[in-house]
């Protein structure tokens, strides 16, 4: 039977919809690398290619996909909820402002050169 959503690893926090999904759908989500399937009731519509939370994810939680860190939750999402740019943010440039990184880096450079 054709899949409706798939995870990369069964231990990932999120899966990906492989069709346009509607709130209320009951999904049996398998992983490409095998392991335990997830039984999920969708809380929101999730379009093709977008992500579904496989567990409750609190704010600040570092999200795992492909078995790797892909970002940090900025808001809570419940199991079966929709995970996207409204509630997850990159861990890179996590300081918020590039200019801060620049000043930190020049500071590091100065220290290397023996400056203050």
């Amino acid at each position: 039977m054709a899949h409706r959503a798939l995870a990369h690893k069964s231990t990932d926090d999120v899966a990906v919809a492989v069709a346009d999904l509607k709130a209320g759908e009951e999904l049996n989500i398998q992983s490409l690398e095998g392991g335990k399937a997830h039984q999920i009731k969708l809380l929101e519509d999730v379009p093709l290619g977008h992500k579904i939370a496989l567990k409750d994810l609190p704010p600040g939680h570092v999200v795992i996909e492909y078995g790797e860190k892909v970002g940090r939750m900025t808001r809570a999402v419940q199991k079966g909820g929709f995970v996207h740019v409204h509630n997850i943010r990159t861990l890179r440039w996590d300081y918020g402002k590039g200019s801060k990184a620049k000043s930190q880096r020049s500071k590091a450079k100065n220290l290397k050169k023996g400056g203050q």
């Binding site: 990906v16 970002g71 890179r92």
Partner: protein, 391 residues
């Protein structure tokens, strides 16, 4: 099964004087600078079967940036997909510099400069040369070639999570098989490794290559941070976000799937030359489609695999770009742009092995002369990467 695959790889191509093997047979009219576009395009309009590569650069560049532009131009002239080249520049010195780098391949190269002659005299003389080169090229015949004689390249664009789940996984398996058969395969997209750079670093074949790779990666990140900015808003792109990618890390992890599982045997800078038999090769490059394909072609790639989620439609004037998509919306709404359709892989109706076979089948047919979607639709994007402003 392995036997069936090998038997099905009956490839033909063009062997050039230096032994390099191409899968197309172009005659190129190459402007050295923006001022020479008009004459180059004039020649290409007059002589059937020639290709001009107009571009906006080549004046008052200096240092590494000038070297990269020259390397990109001469790399296209040297492409194994090119039989001969007519080089046109505003003045003779830089024109000869680009032409002499191409002439090392032993292929026919002629130069023309516009100062003291004017566009019309140059178009006349250059057209007569292009006429003969093109007639000679038309008499060349394809001959049997081996995969191990080819330099190929890969990229994904307008990515979405359907690539990481399906399209790039299938492409990765195809890359593994091509490398097993002895092909060189170039990948790049330095910014789009962010979040997965450690995975590529750990696949570098030697500690020295790993250091070189991390140096290139960190130089890139520092260049961004030195501007006092970050890549939020550009990486992922608005198209990526619409398709479901939320962060650069997620995009990078999907991107990396298409590199397969082999060791990275070489780490090169922009447009450096790649030879057959090098296996999987990293080339420092932009993640913008046309820039990266142009850099790969300059490095010697003769055919490019391009996986897309939301529908990047890029092509190249000299190398066929095979477009592969697992996204059912893209495959149905942009059907004329996609050469290999894999929505059945996305939902698990076919295996990765079957999907890789489908990609390699189209690869063989395309190498043998079948026109790609991008070739049919005249997607001739040629975009030179600049490192800094001109003087």
């Amino acid at each position: 099964m392995a036997k069936t695959r090998k038997a099905s790889m009956q490839l033909t191509g063009y062997r050039r004087p230096d032994g390099a093997v191409g899968v197309r047979n172009h005659v190129l009219v190459l402007p050295v600078d923006d001022l020479s576009n008009s004459a180059a395009e004039g020649v290409a309009r007059l002589i059937n079967g020639t290709t001009a590569l107009p571009h906006p650069y080549g004046r008052l560049q200096f240092g590494e940036d000038l070297e990269l532009t020259f390397r990109t131009l001469s790399g296209h002239g040297a492409s194994p997909n090119v039989h001969g080249v007519v080089v046109i520049g505003i003045e003779p010195r830089w024109t000869d510099q680009v032409a002499s780098a191409i002439a090392k391949t032993g292929k026919p190269v002629e130069t023309f400069s516009i100062e003291r002659h004017g566009d019309l005299n140059v178009i006349n003389a250059a057209s007569r040369v292009a006429y003969q080169m093109t007639q000679d090229a038309s008499e060349l015949r394809r001959e049997p070639i081996q995969v191990s004689e080819l330099v190929l390249s890969i990229k994904c664009g307008e990515s979405d999570p359907t690539l990481g789940l399906a399209g790039n996984k299938a492409q990765g398996q195809a890359v593994d098989r091509l490398v097993d058969m002895g092909a060189s395969v170039i990948f790049g997209e330095t910014s789009e490794l962010t979040g997965g750079e450690h995975l590529i670093a750990n696949r570098c074949a030697t500690p020295a290559l790993k250091r070189r790779f991390m140096q290139i990666y960190h130089d890139y990140i520092h260049m961004i941070e030195d501007q006092g900015v970050d890549l939020l808003g550009s990486q992922p792109t608005e198209g990526n976000i619409r398709g479901g990618l939320s962060t650069i890390e997620e995009k990078a992890l999907g991107n990396i799937q298409k590199t397969g599982s082999h060791k990275v045997n070489a780490v090169l800078d922009y447009a450096e030359t790649v030879k057959p038999g090098q296996g999987l090769v990293f080339m420092n490059s932009s993640s913008a489609g046309a820039e990266q394909v142009t850099l790969c072609a300059a490095g010697g790639s003769v055919l490019h695999f391009f996986t897309t989620g939301q529908g990047n439609i890029v092509g190249h004037p000299l190398i066929p770009v095979i477009k592969i998509s697992p996204n059912p919306i893209t495959c149905s709404t942009m059907v004329e742009h996609i050469d290999v359709k894999l929505p059945d892989l996305l939902v698990g109706d076919i295996s990765l092995d079957q999907a890789a076979n489908r990609i390699l089948d189209v690869f063989v047919r395309t190498a043998n002369g079948r026109l790609t979607a991008a070739e049919l639709l005249r997607h001739n994007e040629f975009v030179i990467t600049r490192l800094y402003p001109s003087a």
